[in-house]
């Protein structure tokens, strides 16, 4: 499966145009004040544009979008700091359901996912000492850091069954026994701590032979690559606006961009952007490849990008001076978004270790 370039260009253009018209930095202020932390209007607009059906197969009315297609949208999500649960629900939730759901489960849920009436979040990280257990009918345990778990209508929860096997179960977020503690992430998006006490749940039961562990690993990698594309969008904008700032801001009678020290540091930021761009493309390609190499490239890209994007953002703040630390300039919002991205789906160190182990496990080709 490889989405054609025309579709990707169309997606990128429509997302960019929509954000341009409806999601400027100033328009975004009112979004941040929404109780859900995002814009319901934008969410339904995304449904209309087909963004929520991006991952769905064509026979379900979707675009059958691959990682490049997802990335095209995610770059705009990053560049414009969109707050809606695109990643959580339309990429991760939908993607996991597609991989691991039964035909019936898919038939029930996919239409609601595509029209935006259902937000489906993945609850994956166990709260300390509260590993989730599924006894075949009921789920008990706790999860933390569930992105958009505060607003999700349904949840996919990773758990162990009584045989100790990994399973993914589906629960209604309003079901008896579910208690959610909602909170905001540093970038303003919603999240939740969720406790399950004997909650009625059903196991995802794929027709295919994929194990839940395999599907979870695959969807985490997919999510990681989508996050990398989001970070690319952020970095590109940071490089652009900081370069522009260097050209207009004057100090000691000349533009600060005429200082060679800043020029050279800006060049380093630009080089990081170019490396990130190359890594994102490689990680997108690796998603379709064999699992081992997929893991190696995806984790490598993630580890490098987490560090590189942070470095670019720190430089952007520093070069903007006092303005860079204000809430009133987008630079600080990128900073907070990158913090969240770096904490989702595995730490930098974990990804780096995974990359190193995978790389050094392979002998040299010559």
């Amino acid at each position: 499966m490889s989405t054609d370039l025309e579709t990707i260009a169309m997606l990128r253009d429509s997302a960019a145009r929509y954000a341009e018209d409806n999601y400027s930095f100033h328009q975004r202020w009112s979004v941040l004040e929404q109780p859900s932390g995002y814009s319901p209007q934008a969410w339904s607009d995304f449904a209309e544009f087909g963004f929520l059906a991006l991952r769905l197969p064509e026979e379900e009315g979707g675009l059958d979008g691959d990682a490049v297609a997802v990335g095209a949208i995610m770059e705009i999500v990053g560049a414009r700091l969109l707050m809606e649960p695109l990643l959580a629900s339309a990429v991760v939730g939908t993607g996991l359901l597609l991989r691991q759901g039964s035909a019936e489960q898919k038939a029930t849920l996919l239409p609601a996912l595509a029209d935006g009436s259902l937000v489906l979040a993945l609850a994956d990280e166990d709260a300390p000492g509260q590993a989730c257990v599924f006894d075949g009918r009921h789920l008990t345990g706790g999860k933390l850091g569930v992105l958009h778990g505060d607003v999700a209508g349904k949840l996919l929860v990773s758990a162990r069954d009584t045989a100790g096997e990994t399973v993914v179960v589906l629960v209604d977020a309003e079901a008896p026994g579910v208690s959610r503690k909602a909170y905001r992430l540093v970038d303003g998006r919603g999240a939740a701590l969720i406790a399950f006490e004997g909650v009625q749940a059903e196991c995802l039961q794929p027709e295919s032979g994929h194990s839940a562990a395999e599907s979870l690993a695959a969807i985490r990698d997919e999510a990681t690559v989508a996050l990398c594309a989001e970070s690319l969008g952020i970095v590109r904008n940071l490089v652009t606006i900081t370069t522009e700032y260097l050209k207009v801001r004057k100090q000691f009678g000349r533009t600060i961009g005429s200082n060679q020290a800043l020029q050279h540091r800006m060049v380093d930021c630009f080089m990081l952007q170019e490396e990130i761009r190359a890594l994102v493309a490689a990680a997108q390609q690796a998603l379709a490849g064999p699992a081992e190499e997929r893991t190696r490239i995806v984790s490598g890209a993630r580890a490098y990008i987490a560090h590189a994007a942070r470095k670019v953002c720190n430089e952007a703040i520093q070069m903007h001076g006092g303005l860079g630390v204000t809430d009133e300039l987008d630079v600080s919002h990128y900073f907070r978004r990158l913090m969240v991205n770096a904490a989702l789906f595995g730490s930098r160190d974990a990804h780096f270790a995974r990359f190193t182990d995978a790389t050094l496990a392979v002998a040299s080709p010559h």
């Binding site: 990280e125 933390l144 850091g145 503690k181 909170y183 905001r184 992430l185 540093v186 970038d187 999240a191 701590l193 004057k250 100090q251 000691f252 009678g253 200082n259 020290a261 800043l262 942070r310 720190n314 703040i317 520093q318 001076g321 006092g322 860079g324 630390v325 204000t326 809430d327 009133e328 600080s332 900073f335 907070r336 913090m339 969240v340 770096a342 904490a343 730490s347 930098r348 160190d349 780096f352 270790a353």
Partner: protein, 397 residues
């Protein structure tokens, strides 16, 4: 440095620790420990507490109520407070304008202002930066035109910390437009309650408004509030900047956050092992410890040079550059190692003294500091300006 000076500094450190353990009110200690947001009342209480210990202006000469602390004692004091995680010792009165007044002010000004600075009876703010003139004071545009026995001030200041609480603003203004950029500048004390003064808060990344814009519109300032001579403001400003740059606290802040990181890495277990046993984190902490060792030793070396007059002029810049870089990096690692808790932020809880949604009870404070400490390499002379200074003053480039 003599053994006796060292011993005095060590005794002072012990006194500071005793003060923290036994004298500091429990609520203030708890707020410090959790890096909560302090109100004006908290800060005033804190500054007065220091005064009661005889510490608020101990670095001043005895004739103005100080103890004539050596550079080493001054460093030890600021450093130890910071290591303990104490609130900021707000410098605008005791550290910045106080010395300018006793060094360059009239007798009347000394009597009028110094006592209130010592006791924080009056709260001061600094009016240096302007939009378009941050470190570049020569670009200053705020004007003060003499009209009879007062000046009429017009202009805008920016990045003015705690202007919203201030009674007084010490301010650089341009009294002569035709002069050379630097010689037309004067140093004026402005009553914040004067008509025409407007304070507009600037929200920073951490959700607070530590800093402000201060708009000055036809503000009448009595001529007696001019420090020293008209046109010599640049000289006084440089004198003050030298004090601003004795950034003793930065070593302590770096220590404090590094200690916090180690505590977290020791206490947090993942898959049965303490975080501190993970090689990547362990070696990163080791690297920070090593950089801290170099920083701390360089700081003592700098203090010794200040004490015996052998400074090269780059010492304070070195400490600020290296200290703030380390402070930021360690904080970044601490926040990263908090995992999901490190991206959960409840700003309100920091005011209400409530608990963070996730993580240890000081998580909110850590995040607040993490956001605001990006300014550590910007405010008070950016790292770039500091490097320019060293290149010029020390290396002659």
């Amino acid at each position: 440095m003599t053994q006796e000076l060292r011993a005095r500094a060590e005794r002072l450190r012990q006194e500071v620790r005793d003060f923290y353990a036994h004298v500091m009110p429990a609520d203030l200690r708890d707020k410090s420990h959790r890096h909560q947001v302090l109100s004006k009342e908290d800060y005033v209480r804190w500054m007065r507490l220091l005064d009661q210990q005889g510490w608020s202006v101990a670095h001043w000469p005895a004739e103005y109520g100080g103890k004539g602390w050596s550079p080493l004692e001054r460093f030890a004091f600021e450093d130890e407070l910071a290591r303990l995680g104490c609130p900021w010792v707000i410098p605008f009165g005791v550290k910045y304008v106080g010395p300018v007044i006793y060094a360059f002010g009239s007798e009347a000004q000394k009597q009028r202002f110094l006592p209130g600075i010592k006791t924080t009876e009056e709260f001061w703010a600094q009016g240096y930066s302007e939009p378009g003139a941050g470190s570049d004071l020569a670009g200053l545009r705020t004007t003060a035109l003499r009209e009879g026995d007062h000046y009429v001030v017009n202009g805008q200041k920016v990045w003015t910390t705690y202007a919203q609480w201030a009674d007084w603003l010490f301010c650089l203004v341009r009294t002569d437009r035709d002069d050379k950029p630097q010689s037309g500048i004067s140093f004026l004390l402005i009553d914040m309650n004067s008509p025409g003064v407007k304070v507009v808060p600037i929200r920073t990344m951490d959700g607070y408004a530590h800093v402000n814009e201060v708009w000055l519109e036809d503000v009448k300032v009595p001529a007696e509030n001019l420090i020293g001579e008209e046109g010599k403001g640049w000289t006084y400003a440089k004198f003050l900047l030298k004090n601003e740059r004795t950034a003793g606290a930065i070593v302590g802040w770096a220590w404090h956050v590094l200690d916090r990181l180690k505590k977290h890495a020791r206490e947090t277990r993942v898959d049965g092992a303490a975080l501190i046993e993970q090689p990547l984190l362990r070696n990163r902490i080791g690297e920070y410890e090593l950089r801290f060792l170099a920083l701390e030793l360089a700081a003592y070396q700098a203090v010794a040079a200040m004490a015996d007059g052998s400074e090269n002029g780059g010492e304070a810049s070195l400490i600020k550059i290296r200290g703030t870089e380390l402070y930021q990096e360690v904080m970044e690692t601490l926040v990263e190692s908090l995992g999901a808790a490190g991206v959960a932020f409840d700003g309100e809880a920091l005011h209400r003294a409530g608990l963070p949604p996730l993580g240890p009870d000081d998580t909110g404070g850590i995040l607040k500091d993490h956001f605001y400490n990006r300014a550590a390499t910007i405010f008070g002379g950016s790292s770039e300006i500091q490097r320019n200074i060293v290149a010029k003053a020390v290396l002659g480039l």
